[in-house]
């Protein structure tokens, strides 16, 4: 059309693959966050009408969603047996014949991680030996985040020592609700240090935070303090992952990337039970952040029953017949 210089969003060379480092606290940046709730809701309401994937594309996106699942069990009745069963499913999330039929039998589809309480880390690590599937441990006084700070730090260290490659910490929501983002940052910084080489996901507990602005500010404070991922929910709040939460958090990730060049990942968790739900989150990732954020490096879905629904969809894609849950091996 016209021969003009194209301007593309800034990308700071060399920082692409580096881990998001700890930055200094920036109160002005936190203050500057503005979120218009109605506009956010309009965006997520219209997005499923604007984007869709069909046929092979749908199948591929669903396989990718599986690769991003943090297959999770966080129940009071978890036992080593239950966790071993979960890990077996994480290794082989889709029946081999379905993968073969799609021509991807050889690419080694697994879930993104297995996510458990600290007590189950050793079991999970043992069960996943020989794979690249990391074990993620929820930590730092999960789910309320209100136990003594030193104990929260020690809990992280214990999980890392037990072999967890990823730590999902919870922030202390009272700091957000009292406007003390400095405290959110300070604690997160301690957690990040305690994680050492383990990747740290910061759960903001969005459903407890009251407003989307608070969700945005809490996410940003965690990113400043070196979070590798920000995560919506523990799964224990009255409201878990929602598309507006995801939109706001992704836009904070984008802001952080625009400012620093560092890429922080996103993990919605809780209540994502259908392939269609998962796809709507994928659309947000692609539209708001780009393709890099569709990979398990930067995108995880905290879920348990989702996997079975996706398997059913894949079976339908392969066979042309609608499927049922009991045909898919249990987690």
């Amino acid at each position: 059309m016209f021969n003009v210089k194209q301007i593309v969003p800034c990308e700071i060379a060399g920082l692409r693959d580096a881990r998001n480092p700890v930055a200094s606290y920036d109160a002005d940046l936190i203050d500057s966050v503005r979120v218009n709730r109605s506009a956010a809701e309009r965006r997520v309401a219209s997005l499923p009408g604007r984007r869709t994937v069909k046929k092979e594309w749908q199948a591929a996106w669903q396989v990718r969603a599986i690769q991003c699942i943090d297959l999770t069990t966080l129940s009071g009745d978890d036992t080593p047996g239950r966790v071993r069963r979960l890990c077996a499913k994480a290794r082989r999330p889709v029946r081999q014949e379905l993968l073969d039929a799609m021509g991807i039998g050889g690419i080694g589809v697994t879930t993104g991680a297995v996510c458990v309480y600290h007590a189950m880390v050793e079991t999970a690590v043992a069960a996943l030996r020989g794979t690249k599937i990391p074990v993620a441990a929820v930590s730092a006084g999960f789910p309320a985040g209100l136990s003594p700070l030193d104990l929260r730090v020690k809990e992280i260290e214990a999980s890392v020592a037990a072999g967890a490659g990823e730590i999902d910490i919870v922030i202390n929501r009272s700091h957000v609700l009292t406007g003390n983002y400095r405290a959110v940052y300070d604690e997160m910084k301690l957690f990040r240090a305690a994680c050492g080489p383990a990747r740290v996901k910061a759960i903001v507990g969005a459903g407890d935070l009251g407003t989307l602005v608070n969700v945005g500010r809490a996410s940003l404070a965690c990113m400043m303090a070196g979070a590798d991922f920000v995560k919506t929910s523990t799964g224990k709040e009255a409201t878990n992952a929602t598309l507006p939460f995801a939109l706001v958090m992704c836009r904070m990730i984008r802001t952080w990337h625009e400012m620093t060049g560092h890429k922080v990942g996103f993990k919605p968790a809780g209540g994502i039970a259908t392939a269609k739900d998962a796809m709507n989150y994928q659309f947000i990732m692609k539209e708001e952040l780009g393709n890099d954020w569709l990979s398990p490096e930067l995108f995880r879905i905290g879920a348990s029953s989702l996997l079975t629904d996706i398997e059913r969809q894949l079976e339908y894609f392969v066979s042309g017949h609608y499927s049922v849950a009991h045909r898919q091996p249990m987690a």
């Binding site: 059309m1 016209f2 003009v4 194209q6 301007i7 593309v8 969003p9 800034c10 503005r34 979120v35 218009n36 709730r37 109605s38 506009a39 956010a40 809701e41 309009r42 965006r43 219209s46 009408g49 604007r50 984007r51 869709t52 994937v53 069909k54 046929k55 092979e56 594309w57 199948a59 591929a60 996106w61 396989v63 990718r64 039929a101 799609m102 021509g103 991807i104 690419i107 407003t211 836009r251 984008r254 625009e258 692609k286 539209e287 393709n291 569709l294």
Partner: protein, 785 residues
């Protein structure tokens, strides 16, 4: 199936085509050859045939009929014949038909959506999720108005036959906006769809048959602008409703001048999209997408002028450019397409020419790397570094082209926003409620969207200020466009005293006063330095008044424009001044009665009554000053839509000869009560009541410039006022309305032409006057903590 592995690498969306089979099947069933829809049946028509083209592919969809004069005649006859019976039905009966139309469109919604996309080129996402649901909503909502009409609009009657000419950008949605209110009110219609996009209107004709709508209530004639002209000029049509370009709107104003046809014009725009530094910038970016890349930017109210606060301009534009990279241009039938085809190659060429001109004038062009197919497609385009003086900042482009400018302060934002001939819509982005709600009333636009854009609903009026047209579509305010007051015919002559009475000498003032013009709060000598003699009915000399000329009008309008603060005075404050005027008039009642007698020869009792009613009238409008409330509409939204009655601005008034004091008072008082400033030309024969009155104004604390009085040759002065671009509306009470309507064409000012009114009766005051003194601005305020 190895494609799955490949897609896992690229994570692209892939094709997601909507099937066009239902629409193609329907076209086949119709033999791809369409007739006119007149009197409830298909009529071949007498004209040539023309092609309907799918702009995305260039393929022929069907052959349409060009309606000729004979065809338009037949359609108008059918509408005329059907109208009395249709109007006689109860509101409930009409409501059932509108309800059936809503249900039937809903039942065939996919067919409508696909056909619209084939015919117009707009993405299926929009026809499916926006256009067709809004059509359905419009008929449902107006089924409700049909039901409530008798109780909610007592004293109103339908106009008769409405001629409706609609554009190609929202073909079936504009049909709904036109037909639903018209038939709800008991009118019948002759509608012409745009020649490029007639197919969904013809499908709607099928729906009318399916709903068993009485024959002739809806008539649809296809054809070019020539057919439109035949409708506009048809002598047996009572109302013209047009949506389209300002250029054609002007031609329609000229053609209908003096015919008595009621007119609604919904025209072009260059609507501002204002982003403050405290806005949710990401939300505003998405808003800009919906503002200018919705329907390929072919939207009259498109937010096409981006005004960004300088402190965030660079950041905002960077975000916007990044967002543009994600816009998908291509096959309108693909469910993931954001921007479809431009309606025609001709339109595309116009867009391209304007963009090239913008670049030549110094704009910096950005178009994303997005693949844009050849043919009737145009990429999303951002022109930055644009100054208000640039052509692309002033002229409507009607394509996917956004022009960007910066501002420093809220005041400058308002000034730039209003720096246009248009006034259709505006979008304001700020998280500060003070900033957003302060700007909303200050922007000259019929629709203001706060932190949103391009929101439409049947419950809420839509329409412009300035050269974006007049009249409203949707909501209660839209219904008035299809109704008239049931007033008995009144003759001005009958109200004049028949015999010249004998005058008592002592009723004249002892010393003759030199009446001057009253401009900007000061008595002013006429620019021309000449006066005219005023005589009584019996021919006796009463005094001189200034002979106002063009320059006096210029000065008066300037004074009125400067008194803008009056528009923002509180209703209470305006009421106080009107009461004060009444008080001071009352104190001089005897003198004014004598003046009236002296001029008109009215009886003593009649003259006293004229003064008494004038005082009464001032009380009426003092009472109204803080009571002509707007409304809060109820569209499906978490938020409020405020329908605010705003003053027109500067209203020119040419007063009649009868009841010279009372008519004068009855006209300026409602205008001023609503916050307008007026330039009033009083009765040409009997101007002395008005010139006496400026002393009342002077003693009543009326701010300078709010009321300006220019005496002289009334129609000549009124014509000058009609042509003056600083006058927002003109009220003319007399027999030469055609002249005024023609004069108004330059800036499409609102006109109100009335033959005669019984100033002493109930029709001499009330809501009708207030409605003409105001225009409705709808401010959309979605909220959410």
């Amino acid at each position: 199936m190895n494609r799955v592995a490949q897609i896992l690498e690229t994570m692209e969306y892939g094709p997601a085509p909507e099937s066009d089979v239902p629409a193609q099947t329907w076209l086949d069933k119709k033999g791809r050859r369409f007739e006119l829809f007149i009197g409830g049946t298909g009529m071949p028509g007498h004209g040539d045939r023309f092609d309907s083209i799918n702009p995305a592919t260039g393929s022929k969809l069907a052959l349409l009929a060009q309606a000729t004069a004979a065809d338009v005649d037949a359609a108008v006859r059918a509408a005329r014949a059907a109208q009395p019976g249709w109007a006689k039905l109860s509101g409930f009966e009409r409501a059932k038909y509108l309800y059936a139309l809503a249900r039937l469109v809903q039942k065939h919604s996919r067919l409508f959506a696909v056909l619209e996309t084939l015919d117009n080129g707009k993405p299926i996402r929009e026809t499916r999720d926006i256009d067709i649901p809004l059509v359905v909503r419009h008929f449902y909502h107006h089924a409700g108005w049909a039901q409530l009409l008798e109780s909610e609009f007592p004293g109103y009657a339908p106009l008769g036959v409405a001629g409706q000419v609609i554009p190609w950008n929202f073909p079936v949605l504009m049909l709904a906006w036109k037909i639903a209110p018209a038939i709800a009110c008991g009118n019948t219609v002759v509608l012409k769809p745009a020649e490029d996009t007639s197919l969904t209107a013809l499908l709607f004709a099928d729906i009318c048959q399916e709903a068993k709508l009485p024959k002739g209530v809806v008539n649809i004639v296809t054809g070019s602008g020539e057919t439109g002209r035949l409708i506009v000029e048809h002598p047996d049509i009572d109302k013209i409703a047009f949506t389209g370009s300002t250029e054609v709107g002007r031609a329609i104003r000229l053609a209908t001048a003096g015919t008595g046809k009621k007119l609604t014009l919904e025209l072009g725009g260059k609507s501002p999209f204002i982003v403050f530094d405290d806005a949710d910038l990401d939300a505003a970016v998405e808003g800009a997408v919906d503002a200018i890349w919705f329907n390929q930017g072919q939207v009259c109210c498109a937010g096409s002028r981006l005004l960004v606060q300088e402190s965030v301009a660079e950041r905002f534009l960077a975000k916007l450019r990044a967002r543009m990279e994600n816009l998908r241009v291509g096959d309108p039938l693909d469910k993931t397409t954001d921007i479809g085809a431009i309606v025609s190659l001709k339109q595309r060429a116009q867009i391209d020419a304007k963009v090239k001109k913008g670049v030549a004038e110094g704009a910096i062009l950005f178009q994303p790397k997005t693949v844009c197919p050849d043919g009737c497609f145009y990429p999303p385009t951002l022109l930055s570094n644009v100054e208000p003086a640039a052509t692309v900042a002033q002229e409507e482009i009607f394509g996917p082209v956004l022009v960007a400018m910066t501002f420093r302060t809220p005041a400058e934002g308002v000034a730039l926003a209003n720096n246009t001939r248009y006034g259709l819509a505006a979008s304001i982005w700020s998280e500060d409620i003070n900033v957003a709600l302060d700007l909303a009333p200050r922007i000259k636009a019929g629709v203001v969207w706060v932190n949103c854009t391009n929101q439409f609903d049947a419950s809420t009026g839509f329409g412009g200020y300035r050269e974006s047209g007049f009249g409203r579509e949707g909501g209660r305010e839209g219904l008035y466009e299809y109704l008239k007051e049931k007033t008995p015919k009144f003759s001005a002559a009958a109200s004049m005293p028949t015999a010249p009475p004998a005058l008592a000498k002592e009723e004249f003032p002892a010393v003759d006063r030199t009446a001057k013009l009253f401009i900007g709060g000061k008595q002013a000598r006429p620019d021309g330095g000449t006066s005219r003699a005023i005589v009584s009915r019996s021919g006796a000399f009463l005094g001189h008044v200034g002979e106002g000329n063009r320059k006096d009008i210029r000065n008066a309008v300037e004074a009125a424009s400067k008194a803008e603060g009056w528009a923002y005075a509180t209703g209470h404050a305006r009421a106080q001044i009107l009461y004060y005027c009444a008080e001071n008039l009352s104190a001089r009642a005897g003198e004014f009665a004598a003046r009236s007698r002296g001029m008109t020869g009215a009886s003593k009792a009649a003259a006293a009554k004229e003064v008494e009613v004038s005082i009464h009238r001032l009380f009426t409008y003092a009472a109204w000053a803080d009571k002509f409330d707007g409304a809060v509409h109820n569209p499906p939204l978490r938020g409020a839509v405020l329908a605010m009655n705003e003053p027109q601005g500067v209203i020119a008034i040419a007063a009649p000869d009868e009841a010279p004091l009372l008519a004068f008072t009855s006209l300026w008082a409602p205008a001023v009560a609503m916050g307008n400033r007026v330039v009033i030309v009083p009765s040409e024969r009997h101007p002395l009541a008005a010139t006496d009155f400026y002393q009342v104004l002077e003693t009543s604390d009326m701010p300078a410039g709010v009321i300006n009085i220019v005496t002289g040759g009334r129609d000549t002065l009124a014509q000058t006022l009609g042509e003056h671009h600083g006058v927002d509306a003109i009220w003319y009470f007399g027999s030469n309305g055609k002249l005024i309507e023609q004069a108004s064409v330059g800036d499409l000012k609102r006109t109100w032409i009335v033959g005669a009114i019984d100033w002493f009766g109930a029709d001499g005051e009330g809501r009708v006057f207030l409605r003409h003194a105001t225009q409705v601005k709808n401010v959309w305020i979605p909220y959410g903590a």
